[in-house]
Symmetry: C3
Amino acid sequence: MNYISIKNIDNLSQWVQDALKIKKNPLKNKKLGKNKTLGMLFFNPSLRTRLSTQKAALNLGMNVMVMNFTNEGWTLEFEDGVIMNQGASEHIKEAAEVISQYCDIIAIRAFAGLIDKEKDNAETVMAGFLKHATVPIVNMEGATGHPLQSLADAITMEEHKTPHRPKVVLTWAPHPKALPQAVANSFVEMMQKQENMDFVITHPQGYELNPEITKDSKIEYDQDKAFENADFIYAKNWSNYNEYGQITNADSNWTVTAEKMALTNNAKFMHCLPVRRNMIVTDEVIDSENSIVIEQANNRTYSAQLVLQKILNNVK
Amino acid sequence: MNYISIKNIDNLSQWVQDALKIKKNPLKNKKLGKNKTLGMLFFNPSLRTRLSTQKAALNLGMNVMVMNFTNEGWTLEFEDGVIMNQGASEHIKEAAEVISQYCDIIAIRAFAGLIDKEKDNAETVMAGFLKHATVPIVNMEGATGHPLQSLADAITMEEHKTPHRPKVVLTWAPHPKALPQAVANSFVEMMQKQENMDFVITHPQGYELNPEITKDSKIEYDQDKAFENADFIYAKNWSNYNEYGQITNADSNWTVTAEKMALTNNAKFMHCLPVRRNMIVTDEVIDSENSIVIEQANNRTYSAQLVLQKILNNVK
Amino acid sequence: MNYISIKNIDNLSQWVQDALKIKKNPLKNKKLGKNKTLGMLFFNPSLRTRLSTQKAALNLGMNVMVMNFTNEGWTLEFEDGVIMNQGASEHIKEAAEVISQYCDIIAIRAFAGLIDKEKDNAETVMAGFLKHATVPIVNMEGATGHPLQSLADAITMEEHKTPHRPKVVLTWAPHPKALPQAVANSFVEMMQKQENMDFVITHPQGYELNPEITKDSKIEYDQDKAFENADFIYAKNWSNYNEYGQITNADSNWTVTAEKMALTNNAKFMHCLPVRRNMIVTDEVIDSENSIVIEQANNRTYSAQLVLQKILNNVK
């Protein structure tokens, strides 16, 4: 069993309930991971993912080996058949097979480069490990998805569930740097699995996510209209998918403000963090009682622990 | 309970005795830290602090998660109310609150930048974590203090205590790079808590430490005179506090030599390490039997372990 | 007991048998390392060594503290008697003595610089730790040897042993970057301890390894002739030892191809990894059934575990 995408969740509501059970008693399965080793491989920076996934593994009694590939290991080659006379010292084939011998589960973070759309969509690093590793792989944010985050988001929404069928809005917001679409993609895929929620995506014209991911999810280009009666506002920036990796819009009118939040049904404010204050969201909103971003981060531990627990139960 | 400054020590002689008890049987409280996690956050390089604090946590049975913020995480913003459209990706508010959810204790190393005196004196990083974290904070060397070091120094002096009231001298010594005042500051504050010791600070004119720290501690500008009858010579460089962060003196006459040590009462030589040989101190002195620098480093484990133990006992 | 060189192996065939016993039941001695700490110090990148040595220590129940000296610690000075007014912040003497107080075993990786032959041959870093540390030292690849690798190689050859006296060939192969001789050196030294094997080294004229290491080992400059009837082909690049650290040959005729392998007695293909595909060896050969490079990497865990186990048994 791998956890690469929201698609790997067979029954979202069951997973959420299981995670909430773990949250109530995180050390209950302390023996499950005994003498099992999680290898965490980072090709990019990480705070929440680094610490929460480690914490989840420790809660399960696992050993953890952390490795920053960028400065601690060798540059990897992902293409087959090349003459390796350039910068890359090691082929993914050997790297993945070798690491599989030292670890029971391999977790990988490898962001989109945002230069080559095809390469990013191919998830070169993640796919390389999936193809050549002989142990389960966990996605700690790939080029096109961040499923541990979106599972944590689902857990957090369950904890704040409304008595009525809620309206959930994913809103684009401006950011000074070009960011990947990964978090937004997985959030969309997770929402598509929610049976009792209404879901709207709002973003400027031209900022459409990959249509193979959004499918028939509702898109509303008028942010104000999208916010009307919303119960959850999930803010996130992403760079342009069509003009791939470009910033074609920096309109501060898309920042989530108290005025915008006033249009909602007293909505909770969500973001995956790290967040640029007063770009994505004003201090007023993120510091308000309706902000549940810190809880989202907390649930990263239980989302990771659920995934590790399922894999360990499967491996045994 | 936090451990940010020597001021947090309520009873120095009792703490020293407690640390010496830990040193005799470091694994006695191996169960105290079970299922507790220490997060160690580094904004600067570290050898002794990195390894001794980790060792202390392991002796207490704690889990340890180490993170180098500079290359593994996100650049933090410490100002409130700013529009985060520059280099910083995450605000200290979120970072501190989030990490508090994964760790039971957070330990932080964040040196003085030596450019902006006011900012350094404000201990921007440490203060940010103190303000926003929801778990205890341990100072692994901040901009203005290094209290784990000075506690280890107090332990080391107790192990070498003289039958008479000792004279302890903190002497400035030359160094090719501009260094913070942190170690000197905490040593001064620790000495001010010593009831049965005489204390003298010696340094070139103009190299006065922050007077709010030195208070009425005796300053003697004549190094030779200061060394007379000394029982402990603690050498340390710091950059100019008045002409902030500048090196205005590189006089090799301030290097601690065998001739200088001959003026003392067969004094022990102390330094926090890392030390520049033949700049701060000659090989002859640091390699002599009177040098106790290696023992000081050893006591870093027990100083950290005492602090963690006190916090864990408090947290339970 | 230190493990610095193949010379530290008193009885190679016994060590190999012991390692194979560990491989059958790696967790048998889980209590041996309890409350013991392995400090792993890296002055260079590492994947296999980093993870397999950690894994070995965890199998023995040890604590592990990993430190990348290059970006996490201080630049070290290795010369005695110098005035430390340049880049180095700490002398090896203090560093080694201090770390010895926090760790029960210190493992070190410090590659050849390939600029100063004398300095590399002196193994400045390893020798500095050996001289000043007060706990056992393990070589995780030094300037002139990589004995954990060669021990793993010996284990792997034993697992594939031929019914007849085997012929083992160490062959040089081209590489775009100047590499150290360490792996080749230790392989030669290990082969010199093999009593029931024939051993041939093949490389271009001028690419002789240090004659003090090769001694009377057979050298054959004709690669094809060397490959005839070989049972094991061990490929490795190294830079010129005579024109020290230079690449004076990049002849792709030395690449190990299927044609070359056809000259052998259905030989196994070996390499320490990371390997440059289609430079050192063609895809066809390394992906063939006769390639045992992944098994070699796997045996790194058991080679390290045997060494740690021997040291722990010695230390107790």
